[in-house]
Symmetry: C2
Subunit: 424 residues, 2 copies
């Protein structure tokens, strides 16, 4: 055996700079969530562990504003939740209609291609949203098995309105899927009111947690569809195992039928639940429920409005349509003559503040400035605006000094009863 | 909007019982790993974050005893690493030869079926291992694209010897995959010495970390095979994007070609790295490298031998062949007349100690008692044996009182220079 002393490389303790993350996520994690992760493990079928799992289900029903029994966690990042939803809902060869208005809409097709879905799309320009009539017309034209969309696409900072979309899908016998990674915990993700079937999220944006766990909720009718695709693993199947009639799900890890049985009273073994991430997800939801959903959404709106007011007062131009702006990340055009990446580096190196770059057609054209979760707070908005002003001035861009911070303060003061800090 | 005050359900802080987890995993996490997870987030392309990613790669090269450039983490539990390896290596319709000697061998076929692989198997009785000649004969007979096996299958507590297996595969132009989830950090997982192509693991067993991150290492020839299946995502592809010539990988999340580009200097965006789990994985590896691999493997062997000696001195019969026993989990027959689950419950309720149940043909016949990672320590072995003795006596099973603990102590004392506690 090779001894490692020869090649041994050692590094110091984890000690990241204390940086304010005002990009599109991940953002700073609520200290209570970080502390929750220091709790030690439990056996995965211990009553205490399954109790925590059940509590997590109850908490995420509140987060997703739903009564769906099947509300739990997929063990992976937000993208894992998206793939689990699509691979479990959409059968190979079945038609999937995707509303694409940004990078994450493209991601849905990317994932669906691998599944072998027959893909139809509603493609709208980045920065715009689709009215319900356009969605219904496309459903009538394409007759898909599943309709899929992004709620808030951080690549464009726009939020697709979803009121009435579930009803349209049900009227036409179509299952619906919504990716709410970037909005969950910051804007109303009104699963039951929208009437949509499957919604997934992440922790690392408005939930104020770390990336690595994907909350999901599934309606009863979607669960019935998924359970019709179930096949019990050979290694654990009993004599009473019953397989479903539909095409088997093309992934074991993302087989939501099996994951539901793991989270059900049956506790059929599947993966080993990511215990620390479960603790984090549970604590993030506890903080949200304690704060109250409406207060939390108002806090995000207040931060977003103040950020927008401040950026405009600095003479900058916001990207996209005001009416459909996400309440937690703001796109702003990089002023002419300013090198966007140089300014971002200066923000990081001089102020220890991160703001976001952009993808695809918006790369080099806009910055994306977030105020999400634990960072949707007055002082963090003010500090970010003040730093951005100084950086733009240092980069030779003329702008009225002090105007951004003052406008953001005024925006907060104009909000009746707005909480100045975090939770009410 | 529905107000949550009506239905609000609240639960208390995470506060698990301080339980000693002496089953087949997850086990208690090293306190340093838990503390590492309290560090706050970094932007995913911050130099500090990519620096930690590079350090993690260097550390896991030591853990996997390899010089493979491609050594990194898959964001999900150990099962996610298995699926990423198989879906990225095995093309639909290609032949996969699986050595099956327990539940996790069955899991490999389960996953491979979903991929559409043409599966061939070497099936050997649970509790046995396959000699290299048997593996070579099956490779010659079936001519697979990939050969896959489990190193230590916790369902049987046996470790498959892998010396020479990589050379056999290379001689016949076959790629090789090893699942080392249950042995990584506890027994030598000698990637380069074995000459195998892809090895995956988990944190929650001998690495002394929480479940939720799957370390992986990939040889250059396997990486070339996987990169020939790459296709760049539409949302981030530049004008210079080049797609490979082989069948596209059937999963986006588990597309190792894309994950490699994320971990490479290119830093092509894929998922958002699970930062807290990266911190945990990095700290677990740091502890292992500090302890020294040989010392760590000796610590696991010492705990395992003492556990075996203690169980035998109590009059119990071990399961499986001594020569091929894993050095971190021991199977022991439940004595006649004892209800295995009642005894396990009593262990948990009276002593706060968990020992493991069993799957499939071994369910109700054996317990599986682990001494893994932070729990492969003398005092934990002694405490577990003492508790098991008391529980068996309480359940009416006659046995020599004190014999188990004394035999385990003697086993430790007989080991020249054996460290009494944890790290040397």
């Amino acid at each position: 055996m090779k001894t490692m002393e020869d090649t041994g490389t050692m590094f110091g303790q984890i000690d990241p700079p204390q940086r304010l993350l005002m990009g599109p996520g991940p953002v700073n994690v609520h200290p209570r969530v970080l502390r929750a992760m220091t709790a030690d493990m439990l056996g995965q079928f211990d009553p205490e562990m399954t109790g925590y799992m059940n509590q997590t289900m109850a908490l995420y029903r509140q987060v997703f504003m739903t009564e769906n029994r099947w509300t739990f966690l997929v063990d992976g990042t937000a993208r894992a939740g998206i793939e689990a939803a699509l691979v479990s809902l959409v059968e190979p060869g079945a038609r999937l209609l995707i509303l694409r208005a940004g990078r994450f809409g493209l991601l849905l097709s990317e994932i669906a291609q691998r599944i072998g879905a027959e893909i139809r799309t509603i493609d709208i320009p980045w920065g715009e949203v689709a009215p319900p009539e356009q969605i219904e017309a496309a459903i009538i034209e394409h007759r898909p098995q599943v309709f899929a969309t992004i709620h808030g696409d951080t690549s464009t900072t726009m939020a697709q309105p979803l009121d009435g979309v579930g009803a349209i899908c049900r009227r036409h016998g179509v299952l619906s899927y919504v990716d709410a990674t970037a909005t969950l915990g910051g804007m109303a993700v009104a699963t039951d009111a929208w009437g949509v079937d499957v919604v997934t999220g992440g922790l690392q944006k408005c939930m104020g947690g770390p990336p690595g766990s994907a909350p999901i909720t599934i309606s009863d009718r979607a669960a019935a569809h998924i359970m019709a695709r179930r096949h019990v693993e050979a290694g654990i199947r009993g004599a009473d195992a019953q397989d479903g009639s539909r095409t088997r799900i093309g992934s074991n890890y993302f087989d939501l039928a099996m994951i539901m049985e793991y989270w059900s009273e049956k506790r059929l073994n599947h993966h080993t639940e990511a215990t620390s991430m479960l603790y984090a997800a549970r604590e993030a939801a506890r903080i949200m429920v304690e704060e109250g959903l409406e207060a939390r959404f108002a806090r995000h709106r207040a931060a977003s409005e103040a950020m927008a007011a401040g950026l405009r007062a600095m003479g900058l131009t916001l990207y996209g349509q005001d009416a459909y702006r996400m309440a937690n990340v703001t796109g702003v055009f990089i002023p002419d003559g300013v090198d966007g990446e140089r300014a971002r580096t200066r923000m990081r190196e001089e102020f220890e503040i991160e703001i976001g770059t952009a993808f695809g057609p918006l790369a080099g054209r806009i910055w994306r400035i977030g105020a999400m979760g634990y960072n949707a707070m007055k002082h963090k908005v003010l500090i970010t605006l003040g730093a951005l002003e100084a950086v733009l001035a240092a980069e030779g861009h003329a702008l009225p000094r002090g105007a951004g911070v003052d406008a953001a303060r005024a925006s907060y003061e104009a909000m009746p009863g707005a909480a100045p800090g975090a939770a009410s």
